[in-house]
């Protein structure tokens, strides 16, 4: 399941609900991304995520579908926040349930890496002094796109 939302969410509660009643899946690997207060030695006061409603969800659904094709996993949950956030806020949760730990780890790792390069999300950092910068990938990476 893919959810893109502006509201903050409780990662632990989402993981618990995701695993609730799964007596068939022995392993759950989850990744929680948190807004840091410093990136590349620049202080961050606020992070704002721009997204393209519909298009972004479809792109994330495609990544999840690819992971499900590639690994034998039971279920996948992907929640991504958009809009303004503060350091310490949970920005993304990826949870993968599987019968075996290998597949849970590999699928989760794939998704977290794929999000970094293929998620249609644009990040704007605001420094404590109010200056803003849009985060873009290094030129080599964006040239591939």
């Amino acid at each position: 399941m893919v959810i893109v939302q502006a509201e903050s969410f409780d990662a632990g509660a989402k993981i618990n609900a995701f695993m609730q009643g799964r007596t068939d899946a022995g392993a759950c690997v989850s990744f929680t991304g948190v807004v840091r207060d410093e990136t590349q030695s620049a202080r961050v006061a606020e992070l704002a995520l721009d997204h393209y409603p519909g298009f972004t969800e479809a792109a994330l659904e495609k990544l999840v579908a690819r992971a499900r094709t590639q690994w034998s996993v039971g279920d996948i949950l992907l929640i991504h926040r958009v809009g303004p956030m503060r350091p310490g806020d949970t920005i993304v949760l990826v949870a993968v349930a599987a019968t075996h730990r290998d597949e849970a780890f590999e699928a989760a790792r794939f998704l977290v890496d794929a999000l970094k390069t293929d998620a249609p999300i644009w990040k704007k950092e605001t420094a404590p002094d109010g200056s803003v910068r849009w985060i873009e990938p290094p030129a080599e990476l964006s040239a591939q796109g």
């Binding site: 390069t117 998620a119 999300i121 803003v132 873009e136 796109g145």
Partner: protein, 84 residues
């Protein structure tokens, strides 16, 4: 009227996240649309026409600036993604 959407730094460059606009002619190309924007707002036009910017028409990525646009299309300009 077509709907234009600007994402990421392009919304800052445009000073707006979206606009509706009459295409220069029906069944024009993205290239022709970009020329229209350049004639009106040179800085924005240059930012949109940068090779790193991709265009999506009705939520599907276009493979080139030769894609045909028509009225009622939703045309999105996507700068390089930051990733999730």
């Amino acid at each position: 009227m077509a709907k234009l959407l600007f994402f990421g730094r392009l919304s800052d460059a445009a000073g707006r996240a979206s606009e509706t606009l009459a295409l220069p002619k029906d069944a024009c190309t993205a290239h022709e649309l970009l020329n229209l924007i350049k004639s009106r707002e040179p800085a924005l036009g240059a930012a949109l026409d940068h090779p790193s910017v991709r265009i999506a028409v009705n939520q599907r990525l276009a493979s080139s600036r030769d894609v045909t646009l028509s009225d009622a299309d939703e045309i999105a300009f996507l700068p390089p993604m930051s990733g999730g």
